[in-house]
């Protein structure tokens, strides 16, 4: 190989790669409206993105898998946690993670900012990104099916899909607010009260930390059934 041939390899290789890359960048923008659902981006989403930047969330949390690996990925957080849970966590992390091995700083995020942040996370969750992250796909599925028909779901799926962001059951979900087996052993509510509690905890147990859950009446009853069934199981075993 001569020096001149080497130089031509350099120039040719670089140009070919750069041109293909630029063409694909053009195509990325052409397909962006479909993949990123850009029609969903309104002023709240943009304001929410600014909140996301303002509090530097991305240096602990990943989003689309990028950022700090210190805290859970936020790409599908909207489906995993839902609106009011996101609000409680962001506004009162010191209470929610009181007993957790890992803490989140109290950032002083305002109520409007949380609303915008949620709008942003809702939009991010809808980006067509080939079902990543794998561990959150169950929440997305459960969320979507819950919207259509709750009866079609496996009980465990529905419960963990709705509650797994804070409650655990047999090694699934995150145990911040208690494991369902322990809760079932403890509570004295009947189905009616439990469903009411899920939809609006304050109305049954004033002062409790759990935020109201955005699920349908039907889903709330299914979850109540599930928890109460654990109770029976325990008593029978005794």
């Amino acid at each position: 190989m001569t020096g001149k041939a080497a130089r031509n390899i350099f120039i040719g290789g670089t140009l070919v790669s750069a041109l293909i890359f630029l063409w694909m960048t053009y195509d990325f923008h052409r397909q962006e409206p479909r993949l990123a659902k850009t029609e969903m981006i309104d002023e709240h989403v943009v304001a929410g993105k600014k909140v996301w930047h303002k509090y530097n969330c991305n240096d602990c949390h990943t989003i689309l898998g990028f950022g700090g690996y210190y805290a859970p990925d936020m790409t599908k957080a909207y489906f995993r946690l839902g609106e009011s849970n996101i609000a409680s966590i962001v506004m009162h992390p010191e209470t929610v993670y009181r007993n957790s091995f890992r803490k989140m700083p109290h950032l002083g995020v305002s109520e409007t900012e949380v609303k915008d942040l949620t709008a942003f996370l809702r939009w991010v969750g809808n980006i067509e990104n080939r079902k990543w992250p794998p561990q959150d796909e169950k929440y997305v599925k459960a969320f979507r099916l819950r919207e259509v028909s709750a009866q079609k779901l496996e009980k465990v799926d529905i419960v963990m899909g709705a509650c797994g962001g804070c409650h655990s059951f047999e090694n699934q979900g995150r145990n911040i607010a208690g494991d369902f087996s322990a809760i079932a052993a403890r509570i004295t509510y009947d189905k009616e009260t439990l469903a009411k509690f899920i939809l609006d905890p304050q109305s049954v147990h004033p002062g409790i930390g759990m935020p109201p859950q955005q699920v349908s009446r039907e889903t709330a009853e299914l979850i109540a059934d599930f928890i109460l069934s654990l109770k029976v199981g325990k008593e029978v075993r005794k």
Binding site: A6, K49, L64, G68
Partner: protein
Amino acid sequence: MIRYESQRVAYPYMALSLILFCLQVVMGLWLAINYGFTLSQGLVDTFSFATARPIHTNLLVAWLLLGFMGGAYFILPLECERELYSTKIAWIQFGLFVGAAVVAVIGFLFGWTQGKPLLEIPVPLDFVIVVAALLFVANVAITIIKAKVRSALQWMLLGGVTFLAVLYLFGIPFYRDLNADYYYWWWVIHLWVEGAWEVVTASIVAFIIMEVTGVERKVVEKWLYAETGLFLFTGIIGTGHHYYWLGAPDYWLWWGGIFSALEPLPIALMVIDTWMHVRERKNPIINPLIWTYIVGLAIYHFVGAGVWGFIHTLPQINYYTHGSQVTVSHGHMAFFGAYVLLNLTIYYFAFPRFRNIRKYNDRLGKWGFWTMSISMFFLSLVFGVAGILQTYLERLLDIGYSTAHLNMMFWFRIALGIGIVFLGGVVITVWHLFTLKPVEEGAAE
């Protein structure tokens, strides 16, 4: 042994960068503590992980860039056979760059941030950095244009630093769309480390190899063309391995997968050519340590950036490892192998010359090299174990973030221990560089 007086302007760049290197590693230890232990709410509220991490990463970028700029200023007069165009510009640029970096770090402590990982520096400071970069590129360009001798290496260096400066601009704007935001974020991050930085450092290494081994310029430049050509050919489209899961068209899986699988090739070529040049050396070995660094750099670069990158670059694997500690493992090994060792190679080339020492006592330097190299290898392995554990528990067994991270805590305590050893190696190396002592030539034989 400084041949041109203006080379001395490189010294403040290099000296300061070594201090920042030490601070960066200290901050890394703090991050390991964050992972390995449960901290109190009060501590998290005042100095959170999100504040400490950007200090760790921005210090890294700052000291590496200072090293590249210092290195470029040191070799340019030799390569151009004339003084730098202006040492005054070099000083102003140094002041701006350092000023921006200091204000940025203090700003982070008070929550002043752009909020983008690795590019946290707020926009007003970005502009200060842009001005500093423009001064640097202009100074390099004018020095080369005014030179009487022409070489491929000059142009490669100029092209590399210009490319580097231009790419930085893509990280500055606010993007409404998160996936477009990250699309261009990688133009800075990926095209820096697997594009512009490779070109700049390949040029500097080529020069040092030429000077140290005495191998003919013709041969070295031919290899330089082939390597940088392959770096850019594979690296530019290879950016696609970051586009798998951000909401980009499907063909990126193919293009990103195939081109990034080819990315280790130029580095392998680099190992081969370094080895050949070392074997066919025309010069005697005066200071064995710099030869150790040259060979160590090539091998570590290949392992850290090439092999460790290849391991999780294919989409089928990356689906599980993306955004996990596996990336941390690769990041540490690659930055150390490709760029930390490169900067230290430059310093071991330049520092003896600043002090007019032909042969120095290298006992401490050897300890430093081996302590750092071995402990960084194990550190990356430990991050890798944590990453595989995380991937397996959280994504394959699907038993949740808490379980995965609770199991990883143990490994981060080990990482902390290894990190302390690494810091020891860094301190020894920095100390050695600052206190180089000549040896009597006769006595040393």
